[in-house]
């Protein structure tokens, strides 16, 4: 048990050090990522001017700006750049063999890698994030209540796990398809629109709104941001968190199943 914990601790430390190599690039890249939001903010300002500053789906202009900034936080938790394509590439090149031989579990190994990545990311990204949030403080309705805040933090942790297990599942489909880029494209297309990082999902007119609520994508950006903004409260909040946890569990099981059957299907291509 202790030896096992030591192994995982070592993996975490190595990944962490790997991630901290390019810290300057990291900090700059984080600031750059706020740039597209600038144009979005101007766009919504123009829309609100045309509406005579009437609230839109329960959001006023200030809420919109705050919402965009908070989705940036949510996406910093849920986005897993290169995870699925990395897994598929390992399957294709045969590199995945090492996980079949070594007593290390691929899903746990990669999860720790991502935890390390995110930890490194936040140590460095906190500064640019704090700067932007400080500059934009007048757009926020004030600090969230204790309930909203703790629920928000919980939903962020869950959205990290959801992002990880969802994308890992997509990558593991590579056991059957080898090349998953078309699948990833479809996923990206839908998550671009339905995760809510382009607009608060409350804006969608009816059949679409229900449809979106049935997918796990809303938890990747919309839900944590809306919770932190205090837009979701009471029973709705409890329901949302349970649903999010349910989706995490669902994709956790999916990755296990895909791994179990995938490794049996695997025929060790590559060198």
């Amino acid at each position: 048990m202790l030896a096992r914990a030591q192994t995982w601790w070592m993996i975490l430390r190595i990944s962490l050090q790997e991630r901290l190599v390019y810290r300057g690039d990291f900090a700059l890249g984080t600031l750059m990522r706020f740039l597209p939001i600038v144009t979005q903010i101007f766009l919504w300002m123009a829309v609100f001017q045309a509406r005579g500053n009437q609230a839109l789906a329960g959001y006023n202009y200030q809420d919109f700006v705050a919402y965009y900034l908070l989705t940036m936080v949510a996406r910093a938790f849920s986005s897993m750049p290169g995870l699925s394509s990395g897994i598929a590439a390992q399957i294709r090149s045969g590199e995945i063999k090492k996980f079949l031989i070594q007593p290390v579990d691929l899903i746990g190994f990669l999860l720790l890698g991502r935890v390390a990545h995110k930890l490194a990311y936040y140590t460095i990204a906190t500064l640019p994030f704090a700067l932007v949030f400080f500059l934009c403080r007048s757009y926020f309705p004030g600090w969230p209540s204790v309930t909203s805040f703790s629920a928000g933090v919980l939903s962020l942790v869950l959205c990290f796990l959801l992002g990880y297990f969802l994308e890992a599942s997509l990558g593991l489909v590579g056991f059957w398809w080898l090349e998953v880029s078309s699948l990833l494209f479809v996923y990206m297309l839908f998550s671009f629109f339905l995760s809510g990082h382009m607009f608060p999902l409350d804006m969608l007119p009816q059949p679409w709104h229900t449809l979106v609520e049935l997918t796990p994508l809303q938890f990747l950006a919309y839900f944590p941001a809306a919770v932190l903004l205090g837009k979701i409260q009471g029973w709705e909040l409890v329901q949302g968190l349970c649903l999010e946890a349910g989706w995490v569990l669902f994709f956790m099981l999916t990755t296990r199943l895909l791994w179990h059957y995938g490794t049996r299907h695997y025929s060790a291509y590559g060198g």
Binding site: T39, A50, F193
Partner: protein, 284 residues
């Protein structure tokens, strides 16, 4: 053999070679066409959603639903042209420098900038060009046939529109080649490339939205210093909103766009040549 190559014939050979390549993997080609159009449709869906909640972008700017869709179509036309002709090549420049492949381009008896900016043509980008044309025709049809305040389309508007689209492409190309050329100095330019993406992000909206304390300086900066705002705005205004509700016409800006295009091309050529002089064949 004449010492001066026939540039048009060389370009046509590039284009046909690229087409042959794309047709070799024709399923891949179709998927790429399909995926780029789908992205555009998603984008269109986003703006449809916005116009579900408002009837114009900005108060009193004249960018109503169909005017804005004509604007969006213009963005699609400009971007698809840049993507078809220049994007696949400029993407490769930093790789050419890193691997030393630029040596071979320098040895050829043809202008190096011409060679490395037009070698490949991405034919699948024309799918978006067609989508843009369809959207443009639909928007123009809606605007010219509506009951109140119909748009009166004149032949010279169409000609100028096409001309200013080409100017826009030239400005974006200049920006791109200048940024890629700097990778000769810097070795790697991944973040510069992101920078290019973020800068052009500003060009995708009507310039009127950049208003207020921060918007005004931003608008001036992106119009006169890095002229990305005029890339789409000038042609789109010519075709969809030649006279703003405030009475302001597009012509002074259009005149400036000519200057901006010429200056961008000259400056980027200069940057490219200067960068080339600093090239030290990396890996030979």
């Amino acid at each position: 053999m004449s010492p001066r190559p026939n540039y048009l014939r060389v370009f046509l050979t590039f284009a046909s070679n690229s087409l042959i390549r794309e047709m070799t993997f024709h399923v891949n080609f179709l998927i790429e066409c399909f995926s780029s159009v789908t992205w555009t449709m998603m984008n269109l869906g986003f703006y449809l959603l916005i116009f579900h909640h408002t009837n114009s972008i900005g108060a009193g700017t004249g960018w109503g639903k169909w005017e804005f869709f004509a604007f969006l179509a213009t963005t699609m036309l400009v971007n698809s042209l840049v993507q078809a002709f220049f994007m696949p090549n400029c993407e490769d420049i930093s790789e050419l420098i890193r691997t030393g492949g630029l040596d071979f381009a320098l040895l050829k008896p043809i202008d190096t900038q011409f060679l490395i900016s037009l070698e490949k043509v991405d034919w699948s980008s024309f799918a978006n060009l067609i989508a843009g044309l369809v959207l443009l025709i639909v928007s123009l049809f809606k605007m010219t046939t509506r009951a109140e305040n119909p748009l009166i389309l004149q032949p010279h508007m169409l000609l100028l529109y096409a001309f200013y689209i080409l100017c826009g492409v030239a400005i974006l190309y200049s920006l791109m080649i200048a940024l890629s050329a700097t990778s000769i100095w810097l070795g790697q330019n991944r973040s510069l490339y992101d920078f290019w993406f973020y800068i052009t992000n500003f060009s995708r909206y009507p310039m009127e939205i950049y208003d207020g304390r921060f918007g005004r300086p931003l608008r001036l900066f992106c119009t006169y210093l890095i002229p990305v705002l005029i890339v789409v705005n000038v042609p789109a205004q010519i075709i969809a909103r030649p006279i703003a509700p405030s009475g302001e016409t597009v012509w002074p800006l259009a005149a400036f766009a000519l200057v901006a295009t010429a200056v961008s091309l000259i400056v980027s050529r200069w940057v490219f040549l200067a960068a080339l002089r600093g090239y030290r064949s990396a890996s030979s």
